[in-house]
């Protein structure tokens, strides 16, 4: 046998072993999916029936989506909050990033340092004043307030600034000579050049906002405004004994993220690897 073949076999064996490990790792998800397809009585049978004997998919998901505690409502809330947060945050960050990297003005450096320094402040250390502020200006218990809360991302500004700095100044100089102002240079030249970076940031922000539990918990009170994460928990309290339904709800909450992740997988992984960004 050639060395190449031995190497190939070794690789194959390791792949199979790693595959087994990854299945173990994914077991909670597989269990969740399988339980969401079952009738309630079969959820806890042991040994575990990975493939249900009695299928109950349509009934379970129908109950979750349009039943007593209809998920479509919370889905809509979450989609609204997530999309608007992502869009606002990407715009604010891109503008600021351009301002901090491509416009040469006096206080630029100091202002950027101040913004950057606030990144070190853990969000939980400012929750109480934010809460008091929101109560007094009427942003409490509203989607608008929730959206504003994550619209000013230091991380996004920092990330995009790195990319804007990579855009050569010559591109802009020639536009400037043609009489274009910064607003036009930003939209026509700089922004299109960093669009992939903005997309990466937007996907990450989408995932984080969709998964956010702490902010809705503190800044929302009315049932009707709940996002999916809060609704999930409430659903669990109401349906405490119906694990098949709870698992169907959990699958519904994860599915959109899985889709976004599979579509944007390359940019998510690159984005994470790039700066090792988090939360």
């Amino acid at each position: 046998m050639t060395v190449k073949n031995i190497e190939r076999i070794r690789r194959g064996v390791i792949t199979v072993l790693m595959f087994a490990v990854s299945v173990m790792f994914l077991l909670p998800f597989i269990w969740m999916l399988s339980a969401s397809f079952k009738i309630e009585a079969d959820v806890f049978t042991y040994p575990i029936q990975w493939i249900p004997t009695k299928w109950h998919i349509i009934e379970n998901y129908k109950e979750v989506w349009v039943g007593k505690f209809p998920f479509y409502k919370y889905y809509w809330n979450t989609v609204k909050v997530t999309v608007l947060t992502t869009a606002t945050s990407a715009c604010v960050s891109a503008l600021a990033a351009y301002g901090f990297s491509k416009i040469n003005f006096a206080a630029s450096k100091y202002l950027f340092l101040i913004v950057l320094a606030t990144y070190m402040i853990p969000h939980q250390a400012i929750l109480v004043p934010q809460f008091i502020l929101y109560r007094s200006i009427g942003f409490f218990d509203s989607h608008l307030g929730l959206i504003f809360l994550s619209s000013f991302s230091v991380l996004g500004t920092f990330m995009l600034r790195q990319f804007f700095m990579g855009v050569h100044n010559e591109y802009m100089e020639s536009a400037k000579i043609d009489g274009a102002g910064h607003w036009r240079i930003f939209w026509k030249i700089a922004f299109p050049l960093v669009r992939p970076a903005v997309a990466t940031y937007a996907i990450l922000r989408f995932i984080w906002t969709w998964n956010d539990y702490q902010n809705p918990l503190i800044f929302l009170r009315t049932d009707n405004l709940y996002t999916i994460q809060l609704a999930m928990q409430k659903f669990t309290t109401i349906n405490g004994e119906f694990y098949s339904l709870i698992m169907a709800a959990a699958v519904s909450a994860i599915l959109p993220l899985l889709l976004v992740f599979i579509v944007g997988q390359k940019s998510v992984i690159e984005g994470i690897a790039l700066g090792g960004v988090k939360g």
């Binding site: 806890f44 939980q124 959990a250």
Partner: protein, 312 residues
Amino acid sequence: MQDIQTAPKTSKTGLKQKNGSLQMKETIAGILFVGPMLIGVTVLTIIPILATFMLSLADWNFIAGFKDIRWVGFDNFERLFQDDAFLKSLKNNAYFLLTVPIYLAVSMFLAIIIDKQVYMKSYFKVAYFMPYISSIVAVAIVWQVLFHPSAGPVNQLLLSLGIDNPPKWIADPKYALPSLMMISVWVSIGFNMIVYIAGLQSIPRDLYEAADIDGANAWNKFKSITFPQLSSTSFFLLVTGIISTFKVFDLIAILTKGGPISSTSMIVWYLYDTAFVNLKIGYASSMAVVLFACVMLITLLQWIGQKKWVNY
């Protein structure tokens, strides 16, 4: 926002004046571009952190309104360090630090294997990354069911393996914190692994080629090349990991609410409970200051340490 035009052409004698007005235009443009961000950060972060510091010196119940605020100096901090519940939470935070080296080791191991030794690399990346992108609420609820003391699959399995009294996991004061730590490790592996893979890809290949010529075995290569070359990645992940253990909240809020008998209370949970359940704003703010100080201290250590301990 409107177009910001550059200044119109002027004669040579007006050059200085032209430069001045150009600079003025640049400054205005700059302020307009960074303005939304600055306002947001000022209103939502800078003012609140100053308010946190002020409120930590006060005794105040939120319901009572501003007129009933009482300034008590450093009383809150004195109380804080005699408060058993707070000290218990700090201790739990310290225990939780253990998760960081565990998931770093596992992630590094998986990253090294996935980077070089397997087919279907992207499948593995997605599989291990699943817990990170999944909603923490859904993940926590699944684990809650899996850990169910009597009917849960985990204990069913243990019973069938002949273990008579399996632990009650999150319902058992002795096992609740370790259970949360296990879930936390499981969630964190994907993210850390992805960063490690990126780190591995930046190691120059010729280092390994040279080692091959010298006849080094896998362990030696790991010890002398991979591990030291990854030190800056490891250091970065260690610091962000430690900082994130100070912020653990979601898992506790969903799974245990700090119980049973405050065995899983951690600093952010206690802060939340004090502020939003018991409405003791001043006392909660003093905890926020301690939290801030801890994170600050670690960040400072990072700055110092980066220069000292990291091999580039």
